[in-house]
């Protein structure tokens, strides 16, 4: 098990007490009612389609996961050795809850599922991340996405 609470003290301290970037005041946009929202998933698990190039450390790039892609064919090229992968092997929804999101759309809990989802690989310096995220926001708007669920690994 890779619970933070079960890590050896020095590693847990190193993880928790690492210097974090400053992002300033928390922004706030009031969403539409949830049952009208078109929702996209953004993962930082280093997921991608088989035909896409694997992630390399520090690049800050992302891969597009079209909603019609066979999600069982997704693979994970995140470089970290320090998180559980066996859950993902057994069920993609352990780290990328696409089937659950579709169920919520079918039942009307959310409005709909976006046509595209996105995946990054883990921590990237904010200077690299900011322009990428700004561009990505434009893409999300063009896709009529009303809300994003961000999922770490």
């Amino acid at each position: 098990m890779v619970h933070v609470r079960e890590m050896p003290d020095h590693l847990r301290d190193a993880l928790i007490n690492q210097e974090l970037p400053e992002y300033g005041d928390t922004p706030w946009v009031t969403p539409k009612p949830l049952n009208e929202c078109r929702v996209a998933l953004i993962s930082t698990a280093g997921l991608h389609r088989r035909e896409d190039p694997p992630f390399t450390p520090g690049a800050g790039d992302y891969r597009i996961i079209p909603d019609e892609y066979d999600m069982d064919a997704l693979i994970m090229s995140h470089v970290s050795t320090n998180f559980d992968r066996s859950g993902f092997y057994q069920d993609v929804n352990t780290s990328f809850p696409i089937d659950r999101l579709r169920e919520l759309a079918d039942e009307g809990v959310i409005g709909s599922v976006a046509g595209r989802h996105f995946s990054f690989m883990g921590a990237t310096p904010p200077t690299v991340m900011e322009p990428v995220a700004r561009d990505l926001a434009k893409v999300l708007k063009a896709d009529n996405v009303d809300a994003v669920a961000l999922v770490p690994v």
Binding site: P54, P57, T81, D84, S86, F88, L104, P152
Partner: protein, 253 residues
């Protein structure tokens, strides 16, 4: 993760997120986050538990209905099966018994033979494991067959400075890492094939890193890489070649 939330929300799109390291989220203060008490790597708790996964996702999305923020709430429950797994007296056992791992890393052909044998013994369990998941496998990031990966790994372990990267524009140590990771996924998927064994990542890793020739080889390469003059090699060795819970096998910890 929290940084992405800041940037995307600032650009006008509402965000909500899962938090696996609550202390970080407290400090970064993204607009909306649901802190979950799960293992790293399992933001929705557990595989093949759709009802539980759905609760987590719904709680996370419901934060979008809060009138003001930042919002940081806690998901209260441990994933199903976790307590039961901890109490399992037998624990997990690999479906196959290997010969004692090769410990001498000076003969590439001996290593190659030993790795080939491990792959051959695991192959039927890997196929079984895939079948259990209706053909799904996470093996494949190196786009290389296990039988070809082991030739590369064996040669690299003995003469690392003589080996060329098989991928364009990719440092040889990154190529090594990609192939090594991929073969570890193959071993791990094979190892969790038996329906009676609900092995945790840690149990499977304890086997892979201590009882297989692959594990010994990966430790030996990491020991070498930690003393490398090449910054890319050194950085990867420090951060991403051996999981923290297996570093006691290595020379540099």
């Amino acid at each position: 993760m929290g940084g992405l939330a800041h940037f995307i929300e600032r650009a006008g799109i509402p965000t909500t997120q899962i938090s696996l390291i609550r202390a970080h989220t407290e400090q970064i203060k993204p607009p909306r986050a649901l802190a979950v008490p799960f293992e790293l790597g399992r933001p929705f708790g557990a595989p093949n538990e759709p009802v539980f996964q759905r609760r987590v996702l719904e709680d996370c999305l419901n934060l979008l209905e809060r009138p003001a923020g930042p919002v940081l709430e806690d998901f209260p429950d441990a994933p199903p099966g976790e307590a039961a797994a901890a109490e399992q007296p037998e624990g997990w056992a690999c479906p196959v018994n290997f010969a004692p791992p090769v410990s001498e890393m000076s003969d590439a052909d001996v290593l190659h033979e030993a790795l080939l044998q491990e792959v051959a013994l695991l192959r039927p369990w890997y196929e079984q494991s895939k079948e259990n998941r209706k053909g799904r496998s996470a093996f494949g990031i190196s786009e290389t067959a296990p039988e070809d990966i082991v030739r590369f790994l064996a040669d690299f372990a003995v003469t690392p400075l003589d080996i060329q990267s098989p991928y364009d524009d990719t440092h040889v140590i990154v190529a090594f890492k990609r192939m090594a990771d991929d073969l570890r996924y193959f071993y791990t998927e094979a190892a969790i094939a038996r329906p009676d064994g609900r092995g945790s990542d840690l149990e499977v890793a304890n086997w892979l890193w201590a009882d297989t020739t692959l594990g010994g080889l990966l430790v030996a390469v990491r020991d070498w890489a930690m003393e490398s003059d090449d910054p890319t090699t050194l950085e990867l060795a420090q951060n991403a070649m051996v999981p923290f819970h297996q570093r006691h096998h290595t020379k540099h910890g």
